[in-house]
Symmetry: C2
Subunit: 466 residues, 2 copies
């Protein structure tokens, strides 16, 4: 693509993206296609000769767009509702153009140092102490994997050379994210090494049960490796009693990892500082700006006070990556399994500056206000019931038709059907979970463009279609 052709097409794409973001509500939220539709619409082989960008872009609009589920839609209330933002998107455009690999300081000093700067900004915004050092990974799954690898290095110092010998336990609650399960499997600890502690009626880890489990395991010959506490669990956004969990960890000398991937950023909002207060003594903590801080996917942050352990676990410099800086520099490849790294700090930097601390706080507050508003409607209705507290921006609830009484099986089926009907409208997209065995609908607010009107529309559809 010659420079002038690139310029022309870049302006075309800029206009397309501007139009898209101005009105993403014109699309159905959830893609309304059938499995295989896109595969069938495309040729089975790459073209022999190059095609015009006109032809490619036409297919993008004709074939790809109908297969997009619109995470930008203000009616997207599923999973954790995420949004990018203008400055974040433009930063990604710049980052793709620069195409730097931040494996070594010298391969892109700006990427390395801007990561340091922005992670210090974010750390201060959420009131974490200064001895937490940060590093950016792609996803919380990978951040947590590295945290547990550092914990493993700590408990089993020969594990790097000799491999796993012995039986180790990782503790979390029965509400903890599945990435913990995948991490213990990958690390070779085995899924049985993960002991899930029962949660209480508000889906928070029972600390006495944790302490008892550790004692029982030690007596049975297991070595505790780490405890994972969550601030904002995936199902109900419950908050584990992190400070009390931390006391157990301190007493037992066990690594405390805090999964605050979704909710941790809320600690910057006045009145919410306490949610990470217990995490101040943790060994590691994960926050995902790509979840609820208007940063396009992917950008997950791991803070740890033991960056040295991550380096002991992973640093390794082959001949072809030796460098000769006279002063010490941070080579980001030393703290992870991924050698190549995108320039992700750029988008976080542009987002933090564009919104400013006040702008971020205002938007997070508004999302929480919308969730409380919706929860109030649920609470005031005889036809619905709430299934969990609403500490942040997610509401768990279900429809309870009088006719079904307390027939839990029928209630599950009814709510599953209701969810499907609501999502088929294309106006909103909600997801589900199970809480205490019950099928629960889940409304997650997180999109920059979601207003009271969109939440009201969801409520209206739920009432009309139940």
């Amino acid at each position: 693509m010659d420079p002038e052709a690139f310029r022309r097409e870049a302006h075309r794409v800029a206009d397309w993206v501007a139009d898209y973001l101005a009105d993403s509500a014109r699309y159905p939220v959830l893609a309304q296609i059938a499995p295989g539709d896109i595969v069938r619409a495309l040729p089975a082989e790459a073209p022999d000769t190059g095609e015009s960008f006109d032809a490619i872009f036409e297919d993008f609009e004709r074939v790809i767009m109908p297969g997009i589920t619109h995470w930008n839609h203000p009616g997207f209330f599923a999973y954790f509702s995420i949004t990018g933002s203008g400055p974040g998107i433009l930063a990604e455009f710049l980052s793709a153009a620069l195409n730097v690999q931040a494996m070594l300081w010298r391969t892109s000093p700006a990427a390395t140092e801007l990561e340091e700067v922005t992670l210090a900004w974010l750390r201060k915004l959420v009131h974490l102490p200064g001895d937490f050092d940060g590093v950016i990974y792609d996803t919380a799954s990978v951040s947590t994997l590295h945290a547990l690898a550092a914990a493993r290095e700590h408990v089993a110092p020969n594990v790097r050379a000799r491999g796993l010998i012995g039986r180790y336990r990782v503790y979390c609650s029965d509400q903890t994210h599945s990435s913990i399960d995948k991490a213990v499997i990958l690390l070779g600890l085995g899924h049985e090494s993960l002991r899930k502690i029962a949660s209480d009626s508000e889906f928070r880890m029972r600390v006495p049960a944790l302490a008892a489990a550790i004692h029982e395991d030690r007596a049975a010959g297991w070595t505790p490796l780490a405890v994972v506490a969550t601030v904002g669990t995936t199902s109900s956004t419950s908050i584990d009693p992190v400070a009390a969990v931390g006391e157990v960890c301190a007493r037992e000398k066990v690594w405390l990892h805090v999964d605050a991937a979704y909710a941790g950023v809320a600690a910057m909002v006045p009145g919410y500082e306490h949610i990470l207060a217990g995490a101040a003594g943790a060994d590691s903590i994960v926050l995902n700006p790509h979840k609820w801080l208007f940063t396009p996917f992917d950008l997950s942050v791991l803070y740890t006070r033991h960056m040295d352990l991550l380096r002991s676990a992973f640093s390794l410099t082959p001949d072809y990556l030796q460098t000769t800086e006279v002063s010490p520099v941070r080579n980001l490849m030393d703290t992870g399994v991924q050698l190549g790294r995108r320039f992700r700090a750029l988008k976080l930097w542009m987002v933090l500056r564009h919104f400013g601390a006040e702008g971020l706080k205002a938007r997070l507050s508004e999302h929480m206000r919308l969730a409380r508003l919706f929860a109030g409607w649920v609470d005031a209705s005889e036809d619905f019931e709430r299934l969990a507290p609403v500490p942040f921006s997610v509401v768990c609830f279900r429809s309870v038709p009088r006719a079904l009484g307390s027939d839990e099986t029928a209630l599950d089926a009814h709510n599953e059907k209701l969810l499907d009907s609501v999502n088929r409208t294309g106006a909103v997209f909600l997801s589900q979970t199970r809480l205490g065995g019950r099928y629960s609908l889940r409304l997650a607010v997180g999109n920059l463009h979601t207003t009271e009107q969109h939440v009201a529309r969801a409520w209206e559809l739920l009432n009309n279609l139940r």
Copy 2:
């Protein structure tokens, strides 16, 4: 950022990127700043109130750009020289705007299905058999990690539940990439589980030594887990005798993983089909379109004929991610540790269509021609010597001043100094490695904008500064 502000800024960035790509040679290739310069130039805290995009972009140009090492510069000859391309960059812009999460089919059917389509295109281009199924990860480090995790699942079927018990070996050559080292550490196998087989005078794995090592290890109680053969090693781009390695693997029933991250794409060039011929019988193979296929970083492809094993190792569906499609769909979260996934297939699709098979082949051929041209100059010179064959687009060589004779220590120091002098010019950026103990300069061609003139300039500087 309101829609019209976004439109205005998107056009500004589009012009900036077009200008940048049209003349990235105006910058020094290697950033000429000192460690800490960028940290010092930026405030220690995020701003309280939002700032204008004007102010942010001004700082991007003033503070960030001088700290960029220009991977787009036609004089970038270090590591593996990578380049994005216009269609790839625009696809990333679109992907950041859409911001879809391809964890489940329903969360973005287009991302899931376009991945299937483009990976079939790529597989056919490099002549791999149809029973290879593909999946996109971020980096080759992560692709290889998953390949070895699948191999581990295969050899130790209880490892998912029970964890690692016993002693396993992974084999590679002494030229294999450091990501294999990191993978065995992460997987809990321990670094000692990696047995590096000596390579021959052309840096290819010695197959009899591999067979002997496996026999010796079995006798000593180790269980062979996998062999990693490389097509295009990182130091010299040597090609392991994959077919012969494969015969050993077949006889010993050991998983064969082929690391073709850099060079595998060259199999599409007429005359180079043979480089992956031996890989046709492999269990898994990694190719990185972000290395030498004009796709912006990151996009690595793992092909395997055992996708079922990857699923056995990692699939796990919590309540909040259950779906209800009636026909079977591919949920990409089932084949990896990363739950969240960017829409990476879009850029590969646009790149493959923009260039077409012929366009890709022509550019890869030209890069290899430029490398051979440079190697010819080295061979014809009395002042330089080549240190390895040039099967692809990388030349390993050194300066051999007559005065230093065969004083290897002095030669190493001389070449290290020469490299530093050449890189300080800012006109080109070369890197180094060690081959047979000798400090070797390395010239890697891979940038779309590199022409004979840039290779000649590197040669001129090397001669002037030696």
